[in-house]
Symmetry: C2
Subunit: 344 residues, 2 copies
């Protein structure tokens, strides 16, 4: 009978205490590394734990102590390598703190996000790090207040009143525009896709502002498909206006990779005949030909920062809300060159 086995195999703190000839309270102190316990006693208890194969029961501890050592992480999706790197950063930091991450994806759907958020509360997470789904209403945060659940926003934000870790998207856009302008480009397009959210807006506005600041036309914005495989086929969209661009800045590297391929298919030579800049600087940027010039947003570092923000808040819930906006840096590789006569 497996269920019997299970029952029998559960060794509890009381078993340990008895074996070590101490009370349960003392054994509990040893586990939590309290300095109140004598080293001889401690050693005896630890030996007993080992001999019995004792496994701490976090669930039981949490019930009494109101801390689960668990943090929820909600991302829109996992397919974009960018989010995978972000997640890796979060996981590392949370793990180092001796805690564990409960992962869920929202699919960028607010209803799913609500569901997932509730599920996490049911599981008693100590806090959650989330990248708000596009369209998350600000009212969402009023509800959060009542939950008394520490939250940190990552990459995207919907409220000033809550911790946030992200990157200086607008600054990155400016660097990209400046780089292209310094190469003589004036007709610069911006390729976007996906849902609208704060990071989207900051990039678009960053692009516009940077273009305007140089007296360039900021309205050459094109929308490409969301699905990776369909992006190359959308490259022609760049050339449907009378005054064709000589360069494009991409909303992210997924688009940049796709357009780089699509431009190639159109007979253009990226970095020579046409210039292209990506955004995020994912690992693939180095491995594509021509190598992709891209604005680095260091997702792993952002993830670590977000985790740190949450950990700090758990340590001191009264901390005022913090925003950390990480610097962004243009990683120049090979996908840009000086202007040439307009494309086909």
């Amino acid at each position: 009978m497996p269920s019997e086995d299970r029952k029998k195999s559960r060794v509890t703190l009381l078993d340990v205490a008895q074996r070590a000839n101490v009370s349960r309270a003392t054994a509990s102190l040893v586990i939590r590394k309290s300095p109140l316990v004598g080293s001889e006693t401690r050693a005896r208890v630890e030996a007993a734990m080992r001999e019995l194969g004792y496994v701490y029961n976090m669930g039981a501890a949490r019930l009494r102590a109101e801390r689960s050592h668990t943090v929820g992480v909600i991302v829109p999706n996992l397919m974009n390598p960018f989010f995978a790197e972000l997640l890796a950063g979060i996981e590392s930091a949370i793990d180092s703190a001796g805690m564990v991450v409960i992962l869920a994806k929202s699919g960028d759907l607010v209803e799913r996000q609500d569901m997932v958020m509730r599920r996490m509360r049911e599981h008693g997470v100590d806090g959650v790090i989330f990248c708000p789904a596009a369209g998350t209403a600000p009212e969402f945060l009023e509800r959060v207040d009542e939950w008394n659940l520490p939250l940190v926003q990552v990459l995207r934000h919907i409220s000033e009143g809550i911790d946030y870790a992200g990157a200086d998207y607008a600054g990155g856009m400016r660097q990209a525009v400046d780089h292209l302008a310094s190469l003589g480009h004036e007709r610069i397009a911006f390729a976007v896709h996906g849902p609208v959210h704060s990071a989207y807006l900051e990039r678009v506005e960053g692009f516009r502002d940077a273009m305007l600041a140089r007296g360039l036309d900021p309205e050459r914005i094109i929308r490409v498909p969301y699905q990776t495989a369909r992006i190359p086929g959308a490259a022609h969209l760049l050339f449907e206006t009378p005054e064709k661009p000589t360069a494009v800045i991409c909303f992210n590297d997924v688009i940049a990779l796709g357009l780089s391929a699509g431009l190639h298919d159109l007979g253009l030579k990226v970095g020579e005949t046409f210039s292209l800049i990506g955004f995020d600087d994912v690992a693939e940027a180095e491995v594509i030909r021509p190598r992709l010039t891209s604005v680095s947003t260091a997702p792993e570092a952002i993830g670590e920062t977000a985790a740190r923000l949450l950990l700090d808040r758990l340590a001191d819930p009264l901390l005022p809300p913090r925003r950390v906006v990480m610097e962004t840096r243009l990683h120049v590789r090979q996908s840009c060159g000086p202007v040439r006569p307009p494309a086909p």
Copy 2:
């Protein structure tokens, strides 16, 4: 005082029951959707839950019921898009089952894997899906037996006695070799990297067997760096033997992407002057130029399968161990061409 707020804000099942004028047991039944409760009563309880903002306390439930609705997932890393896709598949399936995933990475280190595994047991996961770290000793599984913890191996396996979900790597290798051979290639290299584990061995042996079956030399195996950015620079390794290969099959797409770039740097034209086949068929394969011919292993589907295996076992612990090895398919794109006179 936030801690006071916290205390006050905790509404329990008893609060709900009182408000609805029923006993706690009854309230518990409606939560668990028992059919034993009358619909009028049920409605009253549900209304009370809504009005009070009740949140189910999974932790408390687990303590009594011995089920945490939680599954652990351990992967070597998250940076390889392949694992991200696998994870996405697992997460979806687990989520649909109303459970939640606790994520951790092992870094392919057995000590870390041990740590993480213990942490998961402490958190009382109902089971774990893991991709065994390279070097995991078979003895590992003897310990597992005592834990009475349902386990499923994914992608890699160390024991026949435990559920496993993976892909037919050897079959994939055979298809790759056959494809190249049908184009007239005879000197085919195999590019590998990373730690040795079952999936590694199956690919290498699959390659060897397929080559041998055709009377071709199976020993042209080269090791490239593990770090993505350094792979292109290793392409020259292909040509250091006297009899230079005319094609290469890659252990995974990360290598294929890197070598595709490196070959290009060497002045070769992939798909014409030199042929190349990847393994895994990640999204980038479609977006690279030339498009990458790759053996599709459908990581997302494998992830879902692994989750299903675990769910089935939770439902029926007495099930005999199962192995599901998913078919693999060569996705022909543009990176292979007929043999040509040997490379430089």
